[in-house]
Amino acid sequence: MTLTRDHGLHLYREMLRIRRFEERAAELYTEEKIRGFLHLYNGEEAVAVGVMQALQPQDAIVATYREHGHALAAGLPVNEVMAELFGKAAGSSGGRGGSMHIFDADLNFYGGNAIVGGGLPLAVGLGLSDRMLGRDRVTACFFGEGAVAEGEFHESMNLAALWKLPVLFICENNLYAMGTALDRSESETDLHAKAAGYRVASEAVDGMDVEAVETAAALAVDAVRTEGKPRFLECRTYRFRAHSMFDAQLYRDKDEVTEWKGKGPLLRFTKRLSEAGLATEDDLAAIDREVMEEVDEAVAFAEAAPWEPVASLTRHVYTDAQS
């Protein structure tokens, strides 16, 4: 697949938007505008952006608690996502979820799930409903490599394969389940081999290369759609920042982080664009300015947005009890 200038700039903008959004989120966290847990996706942007290119509007997405990237790449309004991080009523989930629970029914975005592995059975069920209703839809289910150790991963893999459900499982392998390195938690560290054990066609791809992810995802999504069977895509990536904000990162060397940063998706794609003559420095700087403006506007929106009144505290528990 040949990379065009337009598509190249689009991928760049998508990844940069996530990067800039989260840099501001980190800053706002230190200022206590954002609270709770804040898990940043810095370094992994190529995965969400690459996979989203392969999806169609009707497709469903199930994400994790590190899902700002997925939400933004899936097209959720930046203002609403930022307002959700603030906990404001104008947020994607009305402020009730926060950073870990971003949802959007209009975009079939089934949320940030903060139980490791918890989203996989959900994706299986979405696939089951698609199968039973004869609906042309693929469910893209993101999870980290930590989830592979959970029983729900194995149960879901088995069920999806057994019932031939249209689900694309995307394992974002950033090598650390919070602070536990992959080789300290898995007997088999070649994760895509595990999926093969359930007869799920699987592939591993360089998750720092947005083009590679896009290509692999497009093939996989196409296969799920046409074969009506699940697929597994392992994206090997790295998280540049701490697991969450309050993390001294005692479990890894700074040299390792520096080395991975050198392979960062934005750095790498910038080089690719300029070498291919698809973008100038000015083009990229202009995008950066626009993205920064977009993020600034989102922050201003979130700041100005009102809080939900305490009087409506018990809303959204039952459908028939809406006040």
Partner: protein, 327 residues
Amino acid sequence: MSRSKTTYREAVRAAIREAMRDDPRVFLMGEDVGRYGGCYAVSMGLLEEFGEQRVRDTPLSESAFVGAGIGAALGGMRPIVEVMTVNFSLLALDQIVNTAATLRHMSGGQFSVPLVIRMATGAGRQLAAQHSHSLECWYAHVPGLKVVAPATLADARGMLGTALADPDPVIVFEHAGLYNMEGELEDDAGAVDISRAAVRRTGKDVTLVTYGGSLHKTLQAAQALAGEGIEAEVVDLRSLRPIDDATIVKSLSRTHRALVVDEGWRTLSLSAEITTRLVEQAFYELDAPVGRVCSEEVPIPYPAHLEAAALPQPEKIASAVRRMLRA
């Protein structure tokens, strides 16, 4: 109205069959619900009638198939997920509590989970400590879930349809000791309200609050007490979440005494919750401390005599009432 003889098991099956005939979105999923016919034979014959797409045998993966039920509900289906017993449902506790109960709230009201989970509960068949417990209150604790316990044929027949019509997750607890219960049911019995408790026997001296499998033991106790001139009112909670406070408070306000009968353990239980509500809402109606007859604080043992001793029994209930009424 013509009535026919039936069993609790057949009533549940009739309810499932009716739901599946009426709504193509409804399907049944669980361990051994198909070829085997259900571990309590509830779904016998349904596979033949509806086919493998709609009567789905699952692997022994409680978390995955309950979670898949949640996902399918989100995707527009109306799944009935059968979990063999509440004891096994603990393997799916994550999906039920962390996902089914929370999705609507976490998403700011964007997603409802119209899912029905049926499970057997209760002791009495010498199945020992991993197949006999009554953990209804674990689920009844959780906002976002609704929990019902059909104790009669009419409720076994009628609660499922109402639960399926509910936009939120409903857990239906069927006491395993009731499946063989026989009785007559109106031929056109159908959906019933699941929000209110029911007075199953009226009386003026004491209110006995119970639900599920304990209802019949409690009615037996009330019958025995009637022979001694004690008129006990028996209230069947039916819904364990939400709890129908009005009915139990009204009954207590007539009788001024209450005894809660609960097959769950006493500590931090449904019986504790009912007692607290009565004290909170009807303190000045109480003419005696609220009493409780619960399971003994022991995992249910295998030998029949020990199992019987561990559970609420009619005689235990009757003596608790006598103690309450006499100095």
